[in-house]
């Protein structure tokens, strides 16, 4: 791997096409939204400049704060389940052979189903009168009904997200695990390392890079989740599963409160940006990964000398 990359600003030429194509779709819409957010828009011909009023209003809006709280809880819950589960699934996959292909394809299937269909499948699957999961749970003696019980609605949403996205973490982790040279495992075995130590000092350093991307992707996507809960619970019962995107869509499309909705979007965007920036900077330094690898190597060496 090229560790000492030469410094060359002509490299910008290679990035230019990407920059142009992404900026075209990213910068203009973002600026438009920022522009909306400082205006009161009655219709497209009469609008007034209102400064930061909408921002102040949004941040004081109790419904925004509630939706935000629910959103953080949801994102943290799915991350807490999907990341460890994905790693375990990846570790359980055979490293090669016919089963590997079959299982990889099976894992890829939920990722390939359009999001509204994912919602539809779970809507029927979890129904207590005609769905396999709902009827099954009721047969077991649990009075499960996600349309009337907020806790059940939450659990169904989390179960659906785990079903939908754990595969992504598993596929990425599996790729990371296959990059561990077999010699490392043999060395660890000779040293009498416990299974936990093998995981912590041999596999974990190799997983670092992919896990950063897995966490970032899941953090961003779960924070913006819209289609699936919209189809599955419609935000209900009551407002129990109304997440930020849902609330935002009611404002922007339902009530056409474009100004406040835009201010909301900008705040929302800045929050995700902040979370990801903190995470990216705390983990994504090249030194961290290299140090981890180096430490492992040193540890192994030290044990050999013993």
């Amino acid at each position: 791997m090229a560790i000492n990359k030469p410094y060359n600003n002509r490299a910008w030429l290679g990035v230019l096409p990407v920059l142009l194509i992404v900026a075209f779709s990213a910068v203009i819409p973002l600026m438009t939204v920022v522009n909306y957010s400082v205006q009161d828009i009655l219709d497209f011909n009469s609008r007034f400049y209102v400064g930061l009023d909408w921002y102040r209003e949004t941040l004081q809006d109790p419904r925004f704060i509630e939706a935000f709280g629910r959103q953080v809880l949801f994102s943290l819950s799915v991350l807490a389940i999907e990341i460890p589960l994905g790693i375990l699934v990846a570790r359980g996959l055979p490293k090669s052979g016919a089963w590997t292909s079959v299982l990889l394809i099976l894992l890829a299937v939920p990722l390939l189903i359009p999001w509204n269909v994912v919602g539809t499948i779970w809507q029927i699957y979890a129904r207590s009168d005609i769905g396999l999961l709902g009827v099954g749970l009721n047969e077991l003696g649990l009075a499960f009904n996600y349309t009337s019980n907020p806790t059940h609605a939450w659990l169904t949403l989390i179960a659906m997200d785990v079903w939908h996205w754990t595969s992504l973490v598993a596929l990425l982790s599996f790729a990371g695990l296959t990059s561990v040279p077999p010699a490392y495992y043999q060395a660890a075995e000779l040293d009498g390392a416990s299974k936990w130590q093998v995981f912590r000092y041999v596999e974990m350093p190799r997983l670092g890079g992919v896990l950063v991307i897995a966490v970032l992707l899941r953090l961003m996507d779960s924070f913006m989740i819209y289609t699936e809960p919209f189809v599955l619970t419609g935000g209900g019962p009551g407002n129990a599963t109304t997440f930020l995107s849902q609330y935002l869509a009611t404002m922007a499309v339902g009530q056409f409160d474009l100004g406040p909705a835009a201010a909301f979007s900008v705040i929302y965007f800045l929050f995700i940006l902040l979370f990801c920036w903190i995470f990216y900077n705390s983990v994504m330094t090249d030194e961290t990964v290299e140090d981890a690898v180096e430490n492992t190597a040193n540890n192994n060496e030290a044990r050999h000398h013993d």
Partner: protein
């Protein structure tokens, strides 16, 4: 811990398969049958739902429409991401880390409000209701992802390869197209899968940027639901069929899917 992982895998696969099984049984039953009674194994399986999809032009044209922008998007993404990933993997330059992060941030825009500016932007340049509009809009998240994946693979290719080509007297273009790209075939396969996947399943941008002539499959599914009063059977059949193109792509890239990431920055 390995045996624990194996059991987790077994249970997870069952967990994964049950809703898929339910999707298949729904696709094989009539609408009144689905809503009328609960049965684990369909007692009167029928292929009527699938027949409806292959015989109705609204459905199969929608499949074609979806495929056209997904393929276009995948092509554009890979073409622009290749040079960018190459320079990221070979050089340091002013603002490289910031640029990488900025690319990632484009996934973060909450869709609801951003849809309107997207509609205005693509209407004003006359691309509304063309596959190109959706393909370009989807580049917002497929291009950064492609750059990341390709960069990972390319960093794994030793820079001695570049130097050898130079010593052999090959031009940069010859090296890049005849040596470097063939080495990274696997990487391109994996990138292709991820672009395909994210573009194929996206609903909101696709719905906003298409009109009557280019309606994609995901949109037809939502509209059929509202028009004919929720025909779960046809919807399930369409849902089951939407997975097919993706499975074909996975089948072709399955070996690289594993080998691929492993070479790179991981």
């Amino acid at each position: 811990m390995t045996s624990v992982s194996r059991w987790v895998l077994v249970f997870y696969c069952i967990y994964l398969l049950l809703p898929l099984y339910w999707l298949m049984t729904m696709a094989l039953r009539t609408n009144s049958d689905i809503t009328g009674k609960f049965e684990v194994i369909p007692s009167h399986p029928t292929l009527a739902n699938f027949a409806e999809i292959v015989s109705n032009p609204v459905w199969y044209q929608a499949f074609g429409n979806s495929l056209s922008y997904v393929v276009l998007n995948t092509l554009i993404s890979i073409c622009v991401a290749l040079p960018a990933a190459y320079v990221f993997s070979r050089y340091r330059f002013l603002g490289d880390r910031q640029l990488f992060f900025w690319l990632l941030t484009n996934r973060m825009a909450p869709p609801a409000v951003f849809l309107l500016p997207f509609f205005q932007l693509y209407s004003s340049i006359g691309l509304f209701d063309t596959p190109l509009a959706v393909a370009l809009a989807h580049c917002l998240f497929t291009v950064p992802l492609s750059v990341w994946i390709l960069e990972g693979f390319m960093s794994g290719v030793p820079s001695e390869v570049d130097e050898m080509a130079k010593i052999d007297g090959h031009s940069f273009a010859y090296f890049f197209f005849r040596i470097f790209i063939p080495i990274n075939r696997g990487a391109i396969g994996v990138t292709l899968f991820f672009c395909f996947m994210f573009s194929w399943v996206e609903l909101l941008l696709a719905r906003t940027l298409t009109g009557s002539t280019t309606k994609p499959i995901v949109v037809v599914m939502t509209r059929t639901v509202s028009a004919s009063g929720l025909d779960w059977g046809v919807l399930a059949a369409a849902g089951a069929l939407t997975v097919v193109p993706g499975i074909i792509v996975v089948w072709f890239v399955r070996k690289h899917l594993v080998k691929g990431f492993a070479l790179g920055r991981v």
